[in-house]
Symmetry: C2
Subunit: 325 residues, 2 copies
Amino acid sequence: MMKQRATFRVNFFFLCIIQFLCSNSFAQELSSWNDGPTKRAIIQFVKDVTTEGSDKFVPVADRIATFDNDGTLWAEKPLIEGLFMFFRAKQMAEKKPALKNVQPYKAILTGDKAFLEKMTQNDLLKLFVETHSNITASDFKNDVETFFEAAKNSKGTSMQQLTYQPQLELLQFLRSNGFKTFICTGGDVDFVRVISEKYYGIPPEQVVGTTSKYVYKDSAGINGVYRLPGISSFNDQKEKPVNIQKYIGKRPILACGNEGGAGDVYMLRFSQGNSYPSLQLIVNHDDQGREYYYQEKDNKSLNWAKKYNWTVISIKNDWSKVYPD
Amino acid sequence: MMKQRATFRVNFFFLCIIQFLCSNSFAQELSSWNDGPTKRAIIQFVKDVTTEGSDKFVPVADRIATFDNDGTLWAEKPLIEGLFMFFRAKQMAEKKPALKNVQPYKAILTGDKAFLEKMTQNDLLKLFVETHSNITASDFKNDVETFFEAAKNSKGTSMQQLTYQPQLELLQFLRSNGFKTFICTGGDVDFVRVISEKYYGIPPEQVVGTTSKYVYKDSAGINGVYRLPGISSFNDQKEKPVNIQKYIGKRPILACGNEGGAGDVYMLRFSQGNSYPSLQLIVNHDDQGREYYYQEKDNKSLNWAKKYNWTVISIKNDWSKVYPD
C-alpha cells in the first residue's frame, strides 16, 4: 500500500513535470495584449501550428519567426542608431580634434540644431558610413556597449525602456512554443547584436541586419575583421528576403514588421509564400498619446496588409501597455 | 519511515536526472578516436572551458565551434558538389536539348573523360555558376534533395557514408557540452543546408557558405528568392572570418579545417584571436589506405599548424575508424 503510494507520488511528480513542459500557457503569457481579433489571431495561429496531427502543424525545425527591430521591437523616434551615430561622431572628434571644425561634426559638438535638421539623406548616409567604419569589429562592439551603458533619450529614458513590452511577451510566447526567433533589421548587424540577447532574449547569431564591407586582417597587431567604409548589404525592402535566404535558408512562418517606411512588406510577402501556414503581422503606429502617430504618405504597408490579409497590430487598441516598467 | 523512503526515492530520482543532465561523458563519446595527444587535447580543452570557476571557463553563449565541410566533415575526393554539378548539367540538358551539343554538357552526357579532365579552373567555375543559377532557391533545394537521394560515388557508396565518423562524434561531444556547432564551408550554402541536419545534426541556419547572387521576386507566379548567375561571396580563405563575423558575429573558440587547399588557415587564425581560450584543429589527409593521401605543395596548412601551435588530426593515427558503418 505504502509502496503504491510512493509510486503514485512519483507518477504524479512526472505528470506535473510533463504538464509543465508541455504547457503552452496560451493567453496568459500575452498579458500586455488586449483581448481582441489581433491577440486571438496570434494565439489561434500558434495553437494551429503546434497541434500535432492538425493539418496546420509545423515541425519545430521550421517554426522560424523574423522580426524587424526599429518601430517593431523598439521605438524608432528618435532612431536609436542615429543617437549612436552622434555618439561616435563626438568620440571621433575627441580623438582627432581637426574634425571639430568640419561639418557635421562641428554641429553635433555644438548642438547646432538648425544645421542638423537641414541634413539630407545623403549627408546622413555619409555620416553613417564614417561613424561605422575604419575600425575593427571588436572595437566597434566595445563602442556600442559603451553607448548603450550611458545612452538616454531626451526624456532621460534608457534605450531598454524603449522596447515594446507586448512584443517581448510575444517573442517569449513564440519561443515557449518551439519557435526560433530572429531579428531582421535595417540597423547595422553589429550594432543590434550587442543588445539582442539582453533586450530580447535573441542570441547575436540570430540577428540579420545591414552589413558593412569587411576585410580580414592578420598583421600589424590586428587579428580580426576590419570594417571598411561602405555598405555590403542594406537590409531593407527586397533585401530582407534575400538576406533571410542567405542567413537562415528557410522562409519564416511568422514575420512581423511595422508601417512607417514600408521596409518590411517584402519580408512579409516572402513569409506568405511559405508552403506551411504562416502569419504576417504589421505594427501600426496609431497612438500619439502613449507612443507616436505616423503613417506612410502612400499608406503602402497598410494597403498591402488589407490586400494580402495581414494582421495589423494597432498600438492604440491591441496593447494595454506599450513599454516595460 | 515509508514516507522517508518515498522522499528518498524522489530525491534519488532527481539526482539521477541531474547527473544525467550534467554528465559530460568525456572520452567514451569519442569512441572512434584513438587514445593519444590529439584526443587528449580535445578532451582537455572541453573540460577546461566547461569547468565553472576555472580561469579557462567559457560561458555557453560563447561556445561557438565552426567546421569546414569538404575534407573536414566528409571526404572531398571526389568533390561531392562536383558530382551535383554534373547531375544538374544532365538535368538541364534534358530540359533544353540544344545543350546536348554544347561543351562541356556534351562531354558530361557522353562520359567523355578526356575532355572533362582537361577542363581548367575557369571552365569549372563557369559550369558551377551555370548549374547553380537561373533557378529559384526552392527549386534548387528540390534538385539538391533529388541528387542526394540517388547519388552514389563510383564505388556505389551513398554520400552520407562519406562523412567521417570521428567528426560526427566530435560534433555531438561538443554539443553535449553546450557548444553551438556551425559549418563554415566553401560549398554553396543552399547545397550544404539540405543535408546539414540529417548528416551532422546541424540545422540549416547554422551553415555559413558560398552564396550566389540573389534577387527577391514577387511577380509572374514567383514569390521567392531567385538565384542569379554569379557568386556573391566565395567562402574560402580570408572570406571565412569575414562571413563568420557577418553570420555569427562571434569568434569561434574551436575551429576545425583540413589541409589540402589551405582554405581554412584564416578561420583558424581568427579563432585563435579569441580573448577566450580556443582550440584549432586541422585534419591531415595522411591515410592512403582508408581515405586519401594528399598534401599541399607548399605545405602551408601544416606549416602554420606548427608555427601557431594548432592541433593536427592525423587520419592515420588518430582515427580508429574513418566512415560510419
